[in-house]
Amino acid sequence: MSKPPDESERNYEHPLYDYMLRVPGLDVAVTSIDQLLTWGATHSLWIFPMATSCCGIEFMAAAASRVDLDRMGAMIRGTPRQCDVMVVAGTITVKMAPRVKRLWDQMPEPKWCVAMGSCAISGDFYRDIYSVVPGIDTAIPVDVYIPGCPPNPETVMAGLLRLQDKVRLRRAGLPVPSDERPEVHDRTIVPTIGRYEDRKRRGGADPISEAQLESARRLLVRGFPMPEGIDAAATPVAPAKEEPKL
């Protein structure tokens, strides 16, 4: 999602897509089919609710009678294998994060992730706690951030509209702007593991994702060892971390 998609990233399209492009005279038909497919993909986002805490309740309210996400074609499904979007709603703890990662890996491509609420964005409020992951974007790439504690159902809907825009761009093969993480307080702990899409921390050709994959893999086995090749002392951490003044 960070780079403009090149030809190799088109593979998620329909298998016949490339073949159809090569058939003379089919381009007109393909354009129409493509529009139809885009319309379908945009308005049938099936959501896997990774609802852990308070935001989960507000997400339920968004899916329930008053706001009713269903009218945008967004359906809630309880299984990752049938879903396009994972909505991470709530605090993610160290004990839970490997499970989130595993469920994310079980979702078929193309897939999107929405971080709903400040806990999922940065661990805000609980960011200094020993057992809380400082933002789910350290484990999986996030496409849309919905700020709030918790976000109103209307805000959730706005986030979903933003996601639909992104889906449209991606279907059209246009560059998809990557969302910046909303600004949080200076005192927020910078995790030793990098965030996906964090431009400030990226040096060269994305050294972070390999480490993240490795760490998530390691977390699934017992024991939480530090991944090899990552020196915790050498990784950039927050400057001069004092006792947080709360």
Partner: protein, 221 residues
Amino acid sequence: MSDEPSAPVAADGGAAAAAAPPSLLQGAAAIEPGEASEVVLARLAQACPSALARAAEQTSKRAARAQALEGFLRERFGVEPDPSNGGPLVPAERHFELARALKEELGYKLYVTVCASHWPAQKTKTGEDPEHFELATVLRTLGSGTHQACWRVRIAADVAVVDSLVPLFAGADWQEREQFDLLGVRFRGHPDLRRLMLPDEWEGHPLRKDYAIDTRCVPWR
């Protein structure tokens, strides 16, 4: 102000309610005045005729129970009540005995909670106070005029073992596991003393005072 027609509590669609600005909270004058408290209390007494009498009865019942508990503790355990600190300090070896006596003789049948706390070594006026734990337990009687019995137990840090109450109250199982997990107090006779909240591999006990709140947790911090 109060008669504004667009009161946002609309039973229909949420969009209308969301669009309407909060109509009642603007301005300092818009506060529901209320009536004089004597009027209100008199009217409530009429609406709920038995309430005050029952409350008075319960207060006296509770006072009688508190007195009985005080006498019991003084006689059998030789401790004075310490209401400002929640409850009296009881010798750790009589922890189980006290709980059983309260449950079986005085009717404190509901296990409410247990709270351990960590006290690092500190200098006091009378000398050095070594590192120790305190374990507070709360039991409760049932029904009308319920009364809670609290007592505390001091545990030396180097041993950090106290009798488990699981043989008396099955509900103590998880509560004691939690205290073991977060503070490292061990419970003698607990059938299944494992960590409850944190992963089994976790190092340290977070609620101890020497455990930093932002302790590194690989790989996230």
